[in-house]
């Protein structure tokens, strides 16, 4: 580089790096030629400054030195910072306003340590993004993670409520039910976080908020770290930390389980299980092996609950419950027997409410993700079917072991096996998942599921083998029908269902046809590794850990490409994702491919046929779904699931009486059809709003159901009440198309039409972006546009809906919400098209 070039190179660097430049010096020394070049560099410097200004709109934040927080600069990116609401670990939390999404958010600003490198920032942001993928009502929703200047900002859901710490301070130790419920819910949330690959590391009373509407929410992930990140120094509050973490080991999901144990101990007693005035004292107390007994402080607690607390607080990580979910199950089981008044009622209510009704297969499955907490309307009690059979999840006699996934999946395998017998009426797996980890008697279950017979089982892993016991009782007459115990090797897990099924057949004096026998044989001869992966996938799937379930199913079919059932559930999982994730075409395509493989391998299996029917209905092929479903009904007349799905198909096609009738027959046949069972939505389309609401077993935690309750109430013109239901639905799940439409309606009820139109417009854009093909969901957008008086929007989306397969003519013809567009000629022509397809459908199928 020559002497002339060097100063220019330095200037270029300064321009590129945004370093302040004193132009007077080079200009005073420059030749005429150089001066021309300098002028151009000044122009480029202005270009750079302009762009930098727009990249870093929070110059006041970025330039603040030390640990100052942006109290002078009221903005962070697009957020308007409103007030400081607290200091968390390593950062400050503000309430802020997001003008784009028009909502309050919580903003946590973490200042990069002075020695922070790119890896630090990347780690914090990456963690934020991982957490953003965790969707659980018990986990604060993370919207965004971004670095501006020395600050990394995490944008989160803004929660109204108070922390458990505040409650402890105000009221002292909690009632047992409250403490157990809160910690069990914290554990469910932790479980979701762990599945997302993050360890919380700071579970404590001040990091759990009970919101004003009763949600228990885990907050403050400021110290969370990805699994396997052992290099970080211990963070979190020492009194809550597991002894191994205090000693410097990496935090793990099991150290979070320990912290949850400390939280429980503290809520029950007001004190910490192991205490010390300094870190050294605390470590010494752990070294002495202090083993707290919660009953020393609170003697009225049951021994079983005390044992659960003790296990969670075990100094050896491998003696603690293996997962947070296991701790939650153990807590619920331990609390149940001694508080018939509170907890038991709650569980019984939950059992009665896994309600489903409104959507078809996929939506039904989706709802299983939220266990109900209360019934808002008394459900009509259907009669018990003495011949019907329920299989309970097996009880793991060694709960901390790695075999916990077998609890549900063995029962599920047995249900599948028994369902292959056309003569037997077996409750679906989806209806029994909720009993996993609960201490229920066969009589209670028979009562709740309206069945006469119940099969229960236990197992314990011993070395390479599994010891299984099962029994079947006639719950109506209180007679033991059979009981047996046997041992199988882990290599032969598939034999468990077969062996039990053969005993059931014998006890019931039934026979097995050669065809049924062949199907059984195929089930048993699976590759053992593929079969185990499948069982793990089933457990995850039913626990709504669908992504992990998908991974297991994919591995299973990779090992054994002819494993039809694994393909079937792989397809079902994608179908559910399609509905949950705004009905994306990608998920539908994946679903269809997997289901086609499943059906090619085993055309007789019901699972893929029902899922396929659902995919067909939601992708404009309802006419193909009907023969498929009727075929299932012919072979298996007792399939309430197929009948329910038919009701869904008829609804799309506008055969409302037929839809109501099929839906009602399905619930009469199996009150827990598709895991819930409920009153058909077609009632709403017929204008029978109150009848729909009266028959609805509402699950207060299901966003989908809350939305449809809101809609029925809206039709009844009880607007403020409808707005509350829509808002609740939206607060439960903001990622669903339905809840966003509900939000728009609620905003409109509140009087802000512009904002409502804006929300709706964004929803429509997203539906285009994701190629939403669920035509009934699209219809909800069209309806809302019509209510807002946006004729263009209403017609635009209505066209997509009707052409996309929602030709529910009688409803379209009378829907009061479409009043504003009824006289437009284009509406008439769309209506006419719906009528033609509706009538062709009726002629073809009735």
């Amino acid at each position: 580089m020559t002497g002339r070039e060097r100063p220019f190179a330095e200037l270029a660097s300064a321009i590129l790096d945004g370093t302040p430049i004193d132009w007077s010096r080079p200009e005073s020394q420059a030749s005429d030629d150089d001066r021309q070049l300098l002028e151009q560099l000044r122009l480029l410097s202005a270009v750079a400054d302009t762009h930098r200004h727009y990249r870093e709109p929070t110059a006041s934040v970025a330039s603040a030195g030390g640990d100052d927080v942006p109290n002078d600069g009221p903005h962070w990116g697009r957020l308007r910072v409103l007030e400081r609401i607290g200091g968390g670990t390593g950062g400050v939390v503000y309430r802020a306003w997001d003008p784009r999404l028009e909502r309050d958010v919580a903003l946590k600003l973490i200042c990069a340590p002075s020695n922070a490198d790119a890896a630090w920032t990347a780690a914090v942001i990456s963690e934020g993004r991982h957490l953003a993928r965790v969707h659980h009502p018990g986990v604060v929703a993370i919207y965004d993670a971004e670095r501006i200047g020395p600050w990394v900002g995490l944008t989160m859901e803004y929660l109204r409520g108070r922390t458990l710490e505040a409650r402890l301070a105000a009221e002292g130790p909690l009632p047992v039910d409250d403490a157990v419920t809160a910690v069990a819910e914290v554990c469910r949330a932790l479980s979701a976080v762990h599945e997302g690959g993050v360890v919380h590391r700071d579970v404590k009373a001040s990091n759990v908020i009970v919101t004003t509407d009763g949600r228990v929410v885990l907050i403050d992930f400021g110290t969370g770290h990805m699994h396997g990140d052992g290099a970080s120094p211990p963070a979190g509050t020492p009194l809550y930390l597991a002894p191994e973490v205090l000693r410097g080991d990496a935090a793990t999901p099991r150290s979070d389980v320990y912290s949850a144990g400390v939280l429980l101990h503290r809520l029950l007693t007001g004190v910490f299980p192991v205490a010390g005035a300094s870190l050294a004292e605390l470590l010494a107390a752990h070294e002495r092996g202090s083993q707290p007994d919660v009953r020393a402080v609170r003697p009225e607690l049951s021994k079983s609950l005390a044992n659960v607390v003790k296990a969670a607080l075990s100094p050896q990580p491998d003696r603690r419950p293996a997962t947070a979910g296991d701790l939650a199950n153990a807590l619920e089981a331990a609390a149940r027997p001694r508080s018939i008044g509170g907890q038991a009622r709650r569980v019984a209510a939950a059992a009665a409410v896994l309600a489903v009704a409104v959507g078809g297969f996929a939506a039904s499955r989706a709802w299983l993700g939220s266990t109900g907490r209360e019934t808002s309307a008394e459900a009509r009690t259907p009669p018990v079917s003495p011949q019907a059979l329920a299989v309970l999840p097996f009880i793991d006699l060694k709960p901390a072991s790695d075999t916990s996934y077998l609890s549900f999946s063995l029962a599920d395998a047995l249900i599948t096996h028994l369902s292959r017998l056309g003569a037997l009426d077996v409750r679906a797996a989806a209806a029994i998942y909720k009993y996993r980890g609960t201490a229920t008697t066969p009589r209670q279950v028979a009562e709740e599921l309206r069945v006469g017979r119940v099969i229960t089982g236990t197992y314990v892993g011993e070395g390479d083998s599994l010891r299984v016991t099962t029994e079947m009782v006639d719950a109506v007459n209180d007679v033991l029908l059979y009981k047996e115990a046997f041992e199988v090797s882990h290599q032969r897990l598939a034999a468990v269902a077969d062996q039990v099924a053969r005993h059931v057949v014998e006890a019931l004096h039934m026979s097995v046809s050669p065809r049924e026998n062949a199907a059984w044989q195929a089930d048993v001869s699976r590759d053992p590794v593929a079969y185990e992966l499948f069982l793990r996938g089933r457990d995850d799937y039913e626990a709504t850990r669908r992504d992990s379930g998908v991974a297991f199913f994919e591995r299973a079919v990779a090992i054994e490409p002819t494993f039809a059932r694994a393909w079937a559930y792989l397809g079902s999982a994608h179908a559910v994702n399609a509905s949950l994730r705004f009905g994306g075409r990608t998920d539908y395509d994946r679903s269809r491919r997997a289901l086609e493989t499943a059906l090619r391998l085993d055309p007789s299996d019901i699972v893929p046929r029902l899922a396929m029917a659902n995919v067909l209905i939601e992708s404009n092929r309802v006419e193909d779904a009907v023969p498929l479903l009727r075929g299932v009904m012919e072979e298996t007349p007792r399939s309430a699931d197929a009948l329910w799905e038919l009701a869904y198909a008829y609804r799309f096609a506008g055969l409302l009486d037929e839809s109501v009738s099929a839906g009602e027959r399905a619930t009469a046949m199996d009150p827990f059809v598709l895991g819930g069972g409920n009153i058909p939505l077609a009632h709403v389309y017929k204008g029978e709003y109150q009848r729909f609401l009266d028959g609805f077993r509402l699950d207060s935690q299901s966003a989908y159901q809350q939305f449809y309750t809101g809609l029925a109430i809206y039709y009844l013109k009880r607007l403020p009440e409808a707005a509350r239901a829509f808002d609740h639905a939206y607060s439960l799940d903001q990622s669903m198309l339905h809840t966003r439409v509900g939000k728009a309606l609620s905003v409109m009820i509140g009087g802000d039409r512009n904002r409502a139109a804006h929300v709706l417009h964004l929803t429509e854009l997203e539906s285009i972006e994701r190629e939403v093909s669920d035509a009934e969901a699209l219809f909800r957008i069209a309806e809302a546009y019509a209510v807002l008086g946006d004729t263009g929007g209403a017609l635009r989306v209505l066209r997509r809906s009707i052409e996309g397969g929602f030709f529910c003519y009688p409803y379209l013809a009378r829907d009061p919400l479409l009043e504003s567009i009824r006289s437009v000629p284009e509406f008439q022509s769309l209506l006419e098209r719906a009528r033609e397809r509706h009538e062709a459908f009726r002629r073809r199928f009735f």
Binding site: E5, F8, A9, A12, S13, I15, L16, Q36, L37, E39, Q40, L41, L43, L44, A46, V47, A48, D49, T50, H51, R52, H53, Y54, R55, E56, R78, P99, R100, A118, A119, A122, R129, E146, H758, H761, L762, L765, E769
Partner: protein
Amino acid sequence: MTLDTTWQLLARARAGDLQALERLFARHLPPLQRWARGRLPKWARQMTDTDDLVQDALAQTFRRLDHVEAKGVGALGGYLRQAVLNRIRDELRRSGRTPPSVDLGTVDLAGGQSPLEQAIGREGVERYERALQQLSPGDREAIVGRLELGYSYEELAEALGKPSAEAARKAAQRALLKLAEELRR
């Protein structure tokens, strides 16, 4: 920490790897959104969904990945920016806010000055754009990446296919001087 190159990510996204697609978004969306803010006149920036439009454009582009080919360094960056501008142009036309005759490809949006125009004048912007077009694609990408999008030198190295941040810094420096020379012509 090893960085997958954008082209590796693209290849994986094309094969259906959702994680790769997410990482592509994470990498390209925020800088493009910020860039669009600096390139649009105020009234257009006030359209509340500008950020969404950028996201939308990116999603569509990634979906059409089969048609995007690696034409050398910087091809993708330019392609993405063009896609964003096209999308914004479509949207503005659709909402009837700008006459369809205006050529938005040169970022000359009618009806208001962009921040860049306010800073260096319309004539300055035109000269800058013209000079930029005279550079080689690699130099152009270095300028746009560092000066406009604010890439770190690590990111720039990745975008330019340079072995190190230091090499990227040198490349950007050289490109800036070449651009100044072009501007003087």
